[in-house]
Amino acid sequence: MDLSYTPEEIAFRDEVRAFLAAELPEDLSAKVRSGATLTKDDMDRWHAILNRRGWLATIWPEEYGGPGWTPVQRHIFDEETARASAPRIVPFGLNMLGPVLINFGTEAQKAEILPRILDGSDWWCQGYSEPGAGSDLASLRTKAVRDGDDYVINGQKTWTTLGQHANRIFCLVRTRFEGKPQEGISFLLVDLDTPGIEMRPIRLIEGGHEVNEVFFTDVRVPAANLVGKENAGWTIAKFLLTHERTNIAGTGFSVQAFEEVKALARQIRRNGQRLIDDPLFAARLAQVEIDLEAMKITNLRMISEAQKTGHPGVESSMLKIKGTVIRQTLNDLARRALGPAAVPFPAEALAGNAAVAPEDHARDAGRYFNNRKLSIFGGSNEIQRNILTKAMLEL
């Protein structure tokens, strides 16, 4: 039992730190810190920087352009990029479609698509959820009917994150209507400029535009765009849910959020004392600090287990639950810390001299509301509890 990194791991961490110090643009990290919305150009820029270093597709095998990292190295990379307030890697092409193609795609699909993900030619988005199929994904109803060499798609997808920047979408569609719902689902690749597709923005609780609805009306897609076998799409969906979840605990983001709240609580003065000297606030902050310290170890224990077995176990559902609760608690503390200064909206509308909240914190309340999503999207915490019930309690 030894919690210290090996000399090799420390060397790697220092390499990542040096890279970030040299290559992460200051304007990008400032935006990330303040919770501002990144533009497509911001994200493309960061992807390109990582791609030049060979550190973009962190979970791909080396033969396809991955860096060949161990789970611990990936963890170090995630922690360090979060600490440095680097933009998150947009996961749809890199962490979702990429591994799917590598495992289920044809050679032609891999050869065509993977390089275009790496070099930014394609921006992929995800067509999974539907208005009537959220937690219960297997009940999806968007249908794709074979017609000659094409599939013809009709239906609606929703929660398509950053779809406004995308030129392509991978979808789960229904290709068979009898039998078990799970056995009639296929995985299709679709160009977003195909006639019959309409994308509409969804405005989120705090006012931002992050997700979209996508409507399909008689959309013709070549049958060659099928990944895996027809009606075998559920296997791919499950593969994504159980095998390729990376950085699920998000401890790097939480560490960053903790440091921000701590700095804020030292900066804010109320009635002659620093907020951090208010015992009730300090107690809240200390408690979540302790939870986070434990979470870091829980995360490492499970990464270490994954390193041994080759894939994360269902215990990663615990990381999802507890990790999101901790991040949400930290967002909650940032909001609380601001007091009335959390109120103004939209932050951008305030003239400089009227600034109410400390610089970099004007969006903290919005971030608190937006991050309620953490415990809902990507398999709600209730779904995670169901998974854990089955797997761990065998009930």
Partner: protein, 357 residues
Amino acid sequence: MNFEQSEDRRMLADTLRRYLAEQYDIAARNAVAYEAPFHAPARWGELAELGLLQALAPEDQGGFGGAGFDIATVFEELGRALCPEPVLPALMAQRLLAAAGADAEALLTGATHYAVAIGEPEAPWGLDGLTTTAGKSGDGWAVSGRKSVVYGGHVAETLLVAAQAEGKLALFAVAAGDAEVTGYGMIDGGGAAELFLDASPARLLLADATDALQDALDAGTLALCAEAVGAMDATRELLVDYLRTRKQFGRAIGSFQALQHRAVDLVTEIEQARSITVLAADALGGPEQSRRVSMAKNLIGRTAKLVAEEAIQMHGGIAMTWEAAVSHYAKRLVMIDHQLGDTDWHLARVMADLQAA
């Protein structure tokens, strides 16, 4: 002991509820709540005509109410409709004007918007540590300082400002045109403003205003509690309806016991929130006023956040959207904790009572 609402208040509540439901359905509400002037000026006069403002003042001050239960009745309905009109500053201003013996007719008819400017960046809640100062200037006074997040300050013609003057906390009236006022919307709808006072000409209303200001804060805090109760009640209805109708895995999600038990716990907590608000309303005007109002605001702060977060979680993704009414209720419920003292701030006041020998 009697828990029945009086006939008069029941009629007022019914009238308000009907009017607000008609005029502020969620789409109409959002259309005005998030765009300057962050309320509906056309509705303001109508609400005054319905007696909304007069219900907040006692008869000898030109109204027909003014008791804790009148305030609670009005604000519960405002909360239920998520109404963004600046009624809170009117309530607080009315009590200050009455304490100063000043005329409040223009306030009660809705002709003039008042705002109450107490909080400052480093003294956001309560009366301790305020640094805005006033000095004599010719025949009148001049006030200097910064007031932060003044509710309704963006539309007020007259600002009632708390400032240190001659060793006491005093109350001044400042015309909006005599101050630098930067208005803005609030994340949960409605508007507020930053006030920059630089030797702004001011009229002295009360030389020793501490008690009157505390009373205004208490009444405002009670109003926020009642508003939260109304908003929680509406949220509960949205949630129960959603649990009944939304299907996943071929069943209404309300058939899942884990959600059922959480929903029941919410309903229980909402009843507790209603009870503590009744306690605070009853105490208004009595010796326990400040203490019971603080108890109420602490419990409301805890419960409103729980209701907001659980309602979002049980709704799932849809609650993350602007389109869903529940998202706006959730925002209001959470942000009420940022007004007039948060749950910890009020707890500390209750703790101090426990600790006093």
